[in-house]
């Protein structure tokens, strides 16, 4: 007999941890509007298949790919790079320096942007980022270093 409350609690804590990581990765790729929508749809999938997902080795990696396919119908390839951070970048923050930074991040290759955001903005470990994005830790290291270097040169701020 399934314990409904325990199942729901387990799912809630999953959403708060892994789910949040997947959402942030999707926002890094697709911007706020599409990323958050894709994340919500992905969590619906996670709930529907909770029995399998709860016992997967890398549910975050699986759900990130699900999220990418959820985002897919919303992304027009010509404007893809324009989706991050948002359809309206200046609405993301009142802080002009932050908006500038986000606009610069728009110009990074998407994997570099995601690794920089997840490691430097949110403090995830290289291993956690590698798992959710489905790449190696070495690739994450590369992306973070190159991404930061490009951002520094774009922004001419002190390292």
């Amino acid at each position: 007999m399934l314990d409904r409350q325990r199942t729901l609690d387990g799912f809630e804590s999953f959403v708060a941890t892994t789910g949040e990581r997947v959402r942030r990765a999707l926002v890094a790729y697709y911007g706020i509007e599409i990323g958050a929508e894709a994340a919500a749809e992905t969590m619906a999938v996670a709930w529907q298949r909770w029995g399998e997902i709860a016992v997967m080795d890398n549910p975050g990696g699986y759900l990130f790919r699900v999220g990418q396919s959820c985002a897919r119908p919303h992304v027009r390839w010509r404007r893809r790079s324009a989706e991050f951070p948002s359809a309206d970048p200046s609405s993301v923050s009142d802080d002009a320096a932050v908006v500038d930074l986000l606009r610069s991040m728009r110009r990074l290759p998407v994997a570099q942007r995601a690794c920089v955001l997840l490691v430097k903005s949110y403090g995830f470990s290289y291993r956690e980022v590698a798992e959710v994005l489905g790449i190696t830790e070495a690739a994450v290291t590369n992306h973070v270093h190159r991404g930061l270097r490009r951002l520094r040169s774009m922004m001419e701020v002190n390292p």
Binding site: V15, V27, A40, R72, V75, L101
Partner: protein, 373 residues
Amino acid sequence: MRTLDDLLIVAGAALDERCAELEPSTSDRNVGRSPRRHLVVGAAASVVVISSVAVLAVRNGGDVGDGASVAPGSPLTAPISETLDTLPPMSSDSATPASTGVPSTTIPSLAGPIAKGSSGEDVRRVEERLAELGFFVGDIDGEFDSLTEQAVWAWKKLVGDVSWQEFDDDPAKTTVTPEIWQTMLQPTDIAPRRPQGDESTHVEIYLPLQVMAVFIGDRPVLIAHVSSGEVVDDGVDPTMFCEVVTLDTDANGEPVDPPQEKAICAETRTPGGVFEITRRLDGKRIGPLGGMYRPQYFNYGIGLHGAENVPTRPVSHGMVRISTAAADAAWSLLDRGDRVYVWGQDGEEPEEYERSESLPSFLYPAPDGSAAP
């Protein structure tokens, strides 16, 4: 002055805050408005309740197999009205099979046949159903455009079991009649022919059907109509072509400087075999034989790429063409190292090709230096 590291942290927080402000979208969901739990509530509310309960319960009973059918009323298309608080109790002795997740409203039939150029709710329903099954439809917008058309083609060939030759000759190949729609609604299991048994991503290309599918964790996530290497009338053997081309890369894609003009011949063969994605180029590549969008190579110079023109018959010089929009989706789903299984035009299984048979046809000089075919 703040450092880059400081700004990155503030930027991350700003992104999180903007996300938290977004409400669960789509008017289909009656969702409670608690922002902290909105992901949980949104998730639970967007599931057709009976099917989710039944799936978990029946899974405990052990008789839901890997290829579980997708019922017409599954989450992405059914109207939703349940919230977290009204979930019925789950019990492990539920006799409700997974496929009765259909809500009390039945899915309406099509008013009439639709085809390219049609628009409206009927088109949207078809797009949604095809997308739900894993077919790439482009935007789900109620407009029957060329992407919708290619999705219908892919469905007719893969699920409708029509060969590309018969299909190519059919003047009504794009039309979706009310009868065809009813068939589309039936529980359909599109399973990989080579299940990997894990969460990996792999590609299966069925040349005799001119259809490809990307599977993640053995579930179809992108099924698309393709046009591969041209074949002669028997439908199996490649044709030969001779052209004057400008070669600025060699057979492995490495640059050749300066570019050379040559009269060359080759077979338009897409070989069968088991491969993996070796190189990917982001952007449009003008190869010696034409434009390719976001090519993902898996067999020397043969790969998957986006093209403007993906007709019903195989017409390429060997590459596997899909629409440019599908190429974008394939780009984000695939990566180097992902396995690619190709069923050749001669109907053999991918593993049955000798290594030499799996090699593509390399360009060779025209016999008399001319470009006459």
